[in-house]
């Protein structure tokens, strides 16, 4: 049986040399189980060692190999070539600055992750010697889905609001903020609210919904954001009607 090949068009950008990214096309052999990432590795090993891209685990866990595959943000380690047309275009993740070839600068996302304090802020802190913060399975189930985020930033590449308004906190950071809001052990909402429910937080979202469709971990950031909008509105109403009950 003759070997099948795919025509892989890759956007190349050499900083300080190229004025703008330019496409380069490679013909790469592939088998039934070859993914886009394998094809990129083939190019780097066999054709052009200067091709730059990020990857690590090769099993959809580390979240570092996200790229635009035929216009869709995907983890390239999970994108099988057999499911794609014979001509495939690979571009760096949309909405982020390009550092080199397929490598993007996600510092902005990392700053936002810190800004929403995407870590547990205990409601009532206790000494380590006092033991774990216990939860029932039902309490875990309330936030489990939103805790599956691997920070791959595919959702940011799918979000047109983030493209137009880079100040927007964005899907993954807001989904993680919601994850801690739903966690029975956490009491950090008052610290997160100025960012999460502020002018550049959930209210920037226009519910395009693409973030949830591209998420490889089915986190559903769009649902997290709309639920945060609802609870923030309810809180605002409660404080308006019953100011004496404000926390």
């Amino acid at each position: 049986m003759s070997e099948r090949t795919v025509s892989l068009t890759v956007m190349r950008y050499r900083p300080g040399v190229d004025a703008a990214p330019t496409p380069a096309t490679y013909t790469v052999p592939f088998r039934e189980d070859t993914r886009v990432l394998d094809a990129l590795n083939y190019i780097k090993d066999q054709m052009d060692g200067t091709l730059s891209y990020r990857w690590s685990c090769r099993m959809g866990v580390c979240g570092s190999c996200g790229m635009m595959v035929n216009g869709t943000p995907k983890l390239t380690c999970s994108a099988l070539l057999r499911d794609l047309p014979p001509a495939v275009t690979v571009e760096p993740l949309a909405n982020f600055p390009i550092i080199r070839d397929l490598v993007v600068d996600i510092d902005d996302f990392l700053r936002k992750l810190s800004a929403v304090k995407a870590w547990l802020i205990p409601d009532s802190p206790k000494a380590i010697a006092a033991g774990e913060y216990l939860q029932t399975p039902e309490q875990v189930e309330r936030y489990r889905q939103f805790s599956q985020c691997i920070n791959c930033t595919l959702c940011y590449a799918a979000c047109p609001v983030y493209g137009i308004q880079p100040q927007f906190v964005g899907p993954a950071a807001l989904a993680l903020a919601h994850r801690y809001k739903m966690d029975s052990r956490d009491g950090g909402w008052s610290e997160r609210a100025p960012i999460v429910a502020g002018p550049e937080g959930v209210w920037e979202c226009e519910f395009v919904g693409e973030c949830s469709l591209v998420c490889p971990k089915h986190v559903d950031p769009a649902a997290a954001i709309q639920r945060t909008k609802l609870s923030a509105s309810m809180e605002w109403m409660r404080n308006l009607v019953m100011p004496w009950a404000a926390r």
């Binding site: 300080g16 137009i164 395009v208 693409e210």
Partner: protein, 158 residues
């Protein structure tokens, strides 16, 4: 952590000198981002996903215009029989009828997307289980149908 100025043995550490990073390339957002089809949704909407989103947003302008029209109609009603009759006559113009058909379609589209949104936003717990979003959306449609029938009955009744 940043305040640590020494290594594990307390010896002073100087930051490695690095050449300045070359400029990253910022892709400009083109004005036709929602028409260009460069983004392809993994859903069945494909390259039309952003376009359909923009149509949903734009249809709200039509609904808003209808409400303005309706407020004008109420204002005319308070201005006396003659003024109101003249206004009703303009309502029969094909352009106005077409506008109202578009406004009706837009309002129905918004009602559908509103109930779908409801399925995403609302988390209704019954005991230890959660009501499936599909059932919430269906419940919304049933409420909508009942309200519509009630409004129709009132209109026919008068």
């Amino acid at each position: 952590m940043d305040a640590q100025s020494g290594d594990a043995l307390g010896r002073p550490v100087s930051a490695p000198s690095r050449p300045a990073a070359p400029p990253a390339f910022h892709r400009p957002v083109r004005p036709d981002w929602w028409l260009s089809g460069r983004y392809r949704s993994p859903s069945t909407q494909g390259t039309r996903a952003y376009l359909l989103f923009m149509l949903r947003e734009l249809s709200s302008v039509v609904v808003a215009l209808f409400l303005v029209f309706y407020l004008v109609q109420i204002a005319r009603l308070s201005s006396g029989q003659g003024v109101y009759d003249a206004f009703v006559a303009t309502l029969r113009s094909p352009v106005v009828v077409l506008f109202h058909l578009i406004a009706l379609a837009s309002a129905i589209y918004h009602a559908v997307t509103w109930w779908q949104l409801n399925g995403v936003v609302m988390v209704v717990r019954l005991g230890s289980s959660t009501v499936p979003p599909r059932q919430l959306v269906l419940g919304g449609y049933v409420l909508w149908a009942i309200a519509s029938i009630a409004v129709c009955l009132i209109l026919v009744g008068f």
